[in-house]
């Protein structure tokens, strides 16, 4: 993200026009502040205010009914000893790692495969099918999949057994398989996004580069490593960051399909924030947990701004 600044060079104001010019400038400034007012109010009330409020609240113990009690950093000390919080942080990183790997590698392969000469209807059909689950709400997706993976009538376990895997797991209930199952459902739902943006990135690579490389005798693999990857690096980088940030806040599939179970195996940080804040009403502790999410996302975002200068090829 580059912030373009386009400060106008003010025209040399003649003596006579000076008064009129400054009136215009004042009017322009007034319009500027006026146009920003709705955004500024909403920003203060619903983003900046709550962020500061959350930091303050993380230093308190408060159940929303009695008066809040200042306890310093005790919420953060508790976080280090809370087996649920530790499980949630570990699960969130595991989920995020697999989410990033699965979205980027198969996502790129899929984009490369579709980015070939093919009949237009086929191209349209593939894009539509791969992208469609992305448009369906998590609520609907998680409900459908919780039935597909149901212990009684789920057809995936049934077919696995028919294929000879006698001890095929009941995915959402098996402690070792619940997380892989959620990762797989998330992959199915959101791969379309990575696919589409990588495909758009591939199509933005100038054809001449490939032609020139071919003339120089570069093979398919060389062209891939020396043209496709560098030219695609801004998109790849963006996809990595977006997938990371999205995965780190994951909530719905666990909340709806597994409730964080079995035995906290799919509990994520945001789920833990939800349970702590809105089930147990420990607002201070929940705020401390939420800050973990904020700090990690902030670090990744700032790293993105820094690292993209080194990793990403810019023309």
């Amino acid at each position: 993200m580059t912030v373009r600044s386009d400060i106008e060079t003010t025209a040399p104001a003649g003596e006579a026009r000076h008064g009129r010019a400054s009136t215009l400038r004042r009017r322009e400034a007034r319009a500027g502040y006026l146009f920003l007012t709705p955004t500024a109010i909403l920003f203060l009330v619903f983003i900046a205010g709550p962020l500061v409020g959350g930091i303050v609240l993380s230093l308190y113990s408060w159940d929303m009914f009695s008066s809040p009690e200042y306890i310093g950093i005790r919420n953060f000390e508790r976080l280090m000893d809370d087996p649920q919080a530790i499980a949630a942080i570990r699960n969130t990183f595991v989920f995020t790692f697999w989410s990033v790997v699965l979205h980027l590698v198969p996502g790129l392969l899929l984009a490369l495969a579709v980015n070939r000469a093919m009949a237009r209807p086929l191209d349209y059909f593939l894009r539509t099918s791969y992208f469609f689950p992305m448009l369906v709400s998590w609520a609907a997706v998680a409900l459908i999949w919780s039935y597909i993976l149901d212990p009684n009538f789920g057809f995936i376990t049934y077919y696995l057994k028919r294929l000879g895997f006698e001890d095929a797991p009941v995915f959402l209930i098996d402690p070792d398989w619940a997380m892989p199952a959620v990762i797989a459902v998330d992959f199915w739902k959101t791969i379309g996004f990575t696919f589409i943006i990588l495909l758009a990135g591939l199509q933005g690579i100038p054809t001449q580069l490939y032609e020139a490389a071919s003339v120089d005798g570069a093979g398919t693999l060389r062209r891939f490593w020396n043209i496709t990857i560098p030219m695609l690096s801004p998109t790849l980088f963006f996809a990595t960051v977006i997938t990371f940030i999205g995965a780190f806040q994951i909530f719905e599939p666990m909340y709806i399909m597994t409730r964080g179970g079995p035995g906290d195996r799919t509990l994520t940080i945001v789920m833990h924030v939800y349970e702590t804040g809105f089930r147990r009403f420990e607002m201070g502790y929940a705020s401390a947990l939420a800050l973990v999410v904020f700090v990690v996302i902030m670090i990744v975002t700032l790293l993105q701004v820094r690292l993209s200068r080194y990793w990403v090829f810019h023309e």
């Binding site: 709705p38 909403l42 579709v114 349209y124 448009l135 199509q203 977006i242």
Partner: protein, 287 residues
Amino acid sequence: MALDRQVRTARWRGLRRTGDWTLDLFLVALALLILTPFYWMLVNSLLPRAEAFSLPPVWIPSSITLDNYVEVFDTLPFVRLVLNSLKLTVIITAGALITSTLAAYAFARLQFPGRDLLFIILLSALMVPQQVTVIPTFILIRNLGLLDTHEAVYLPALINVFGTFLLRQFFLSIPRDLEDAARIDGAGHLRILWNVIVPLSAPALSALAIFIALAAWNEFFWANIFLTSPDKMTLPVGLVMLSGRFGTGSPVVTLAALSMLVVPLLILFAIAQRKITESVAMSGLKG
């Protein structure tokens, strides 16, 4: 777009080999596999209660019934849920478009002290997800007496930092000469924005509208926390809490309700795929 496609076709034509047909076949098989859960949902929602969810699963139904669909309206406040979702989606989309357009115009076109600093501060809000602000906002909303109201859901959604950024970049790309005529006529900034900038930005605005509307229509996390009574709930919250995993009633009825959601969406998407994917992918291209 068309030119783009020709160029791409030309680029790869020379590379096509016989092996490509098996790859095409694989890609089609994968696409069908991806759509299978939706097909299974639709088939089971149309089966008589006794036959639904049987194993091996029914893939080609011999007889179908709409009983489950009728029951959706008996057991769920389905119409109310749809209306609630529509209402919130319209308010959020229109509201966020207006605030983003105004702010983007100020950042792109107007001179005033502190403009670039304010823009950086606003952009930094992209690092603050809703999951982080939800607890203090919950307390605020409770103190305002707005728990379990639609205001609690749409008010925080009226600001769209990403949309503001996107529109600002788009407005910057519009040549200033186009506004000169209006300026000479003495048009105010609101007039210039509405008569010149907005019509020229129709592609960006419509893409952003699709993006915001989809997110609002599908939103679960926030609405699930703030809306607790069934007549206030949105579709995603209502389906999960009232019928699905947490509610009562037969899973077949839930599948029927889901089909009524998913099938029209699929038809709409099959028609308008390019516009919709472009609006979602836009974030990737501009990043």
